[in-house]
């Protein structure tokens, strides 16, 4: 049996992070959660993940900063934004050019979350 895909959820809202973990673990992913950008960077120094699901609007280190830092330190790491804000098409296109692997809106539909994560991690 293949190893489960590993997902790191970075969200300062405990309820969101736990919900994502619950949904993805039930689908066979191995999900870990951290509550800040700083924690995610420490985690990525020690462990490998197939995808980082990153909240944008976090205190202290915002998601944009974390994304930039992950790209510097781990250029091949897949990162998707997990955000309430639905950015315009132009913004989304630019983000993809910058290396963002995907974009998931909150609140999310369970099936949509699963299919997007599967799609990104199957590449």
């Amino acid at each position: 049996m293949a190893n489960p895909k590993r997902i790191l959820v970075v969200d300062d809202e405990l309820s969101v992070a736990k919900t994502v973990k619950f949904i993805l673990d039930a689908e066979g992913f191995e999900t870990q959660i951290v509550f800040s950008g700083e924690e995610s960077l420490k985690k990525l120094e020690k462990e490998k993940f197939d995808l980082v699901l990153l909240d944008i609007m976090m205190p202290k280190m915002n998601g944009w900063q974390v994304f930039e830092e992950i790209q510097k330190r781990h250029p091949k790491q897949a990162v998707a934004f997990l955000t309430v804000i639905k950015y315009s098409d132009a913004v989304r296109e630019k983000l993809e050019k910058e290396g963002l692997a995907g974009y998931i809106n909150k609140p999310f539909d369970n099936d949509d979350l699963i299919s997007r994560v599967k799609s990104i991690t199957s590449d």
Partner: protein, 253 residues
């Protein structure tokens, strides 16, 4: 102390031919409110989040990707030299809407000094010198967690309010400032009318008391990238802002 002797962050710049989305990406990911703009190899001006928000009044209806940095950059900026006294720099960065000042050696930009840089550099001087109550502003803009994003955007773009303390009845839930707003302005316009402040607020219930050391306020402002911290004494009393702290700092240097 002279500007050249200060410790400041590296320069992060943007090309004048880039669009506003590019500029905002660079600002957010590098935690800068102001970027120097280069026209090829030449320093040409600055672009700020604050300036962008204000200019939206004139660019309403235009999408961020259709506006070039060169169209909205500030070309008439005041600069300083490496041998300028830090006191003069504090005067400049605490002017309304000015958050940083370019340092030029000849025509070359050698650094940008920001409010954050000054506060970080002189934080030890502040410790134990003043209480929050000595420097805070009692005039504070307040909004509700249930306000629409559109109404808050309008208040900040159209008025003098650059920071709005968001309350849920008598409890502070966070602060909305320019950087939060600009992030929202990158969203699909059709989405804004359905969003409430709660959707875009980064929860931050940190408040101070009048008796707290002003250095504590400076540390929170630097750590959380906010321009101010609400002051509570049972209920909201006011706000202590980065500008208030720097202006007080100037008098003890």
């Amino acid at each position: 102390m002279l500007v050249k002797d200060m410790v400041v962050r590296d320069i992060v710049a943007i090309d004048s031919g880039k669009d506003i989305i590019d500029a905002l990406f660079v600002m957010f990911s590098n935690r800068r409110l102001v970027l120097p703009v280069f026209n090829g190899p030449h320093f040409a001006g600055t672009i700020s989040m604050c300036g962008y928000a204000e200019l939206l009044k004139d660019f309403r209806g235009k999408t961020p990707e259709s506006i070039r940095v060169s169209q909205i950059m500030d070309k008439k900026i005041r600069t300083v030299s490496p041998t300028t006294d830090v006191l003069d720099v504090i005067d400049k960065v605490t002017e309304r809407g000015v958050y940083s000042v370019p340092v030029l050696s000849g025509h070359n930009l050698i650094r940008m000094v920001t409010r954050e840089d000054v506060m970080r550099q002189f934080l030890p001087l502040l410790r134990g010198r003043f209480n929050v109550g000595d420097v805070m502003s009692y005039d504070v803009s307040v909004g509700s967690i249930h306000d629409t994003v559109e109404s808050v955007v309008e208040r900040i773009i159209s008025g003098d309010e650059k920071r709005i303390v968001i309350m849920d009845y008598k409890k502070v839930e966070g602060i909305i400032c320019i950087k939060d707003l600009v992030n929202v302005l990158l969203a699909e316009k059709s989405e804004l009318s359905d969003m409430s402040v709660k959707d875009i607020l980064v929860p931050n219930t940190i408040t101070l008391r009048k008796s707290d050391d002003i250095a504590k306020a400076a540390e929170i402002i630097l750590d959380w990238w906010v321009g101010g911290v609400p002051v509570m004494d049972g209920e909201l009393e006011g706000i202590v802002k980065d500008k208030d702290i720097l202006q007080r700092l100037r008098f003890i240097m």
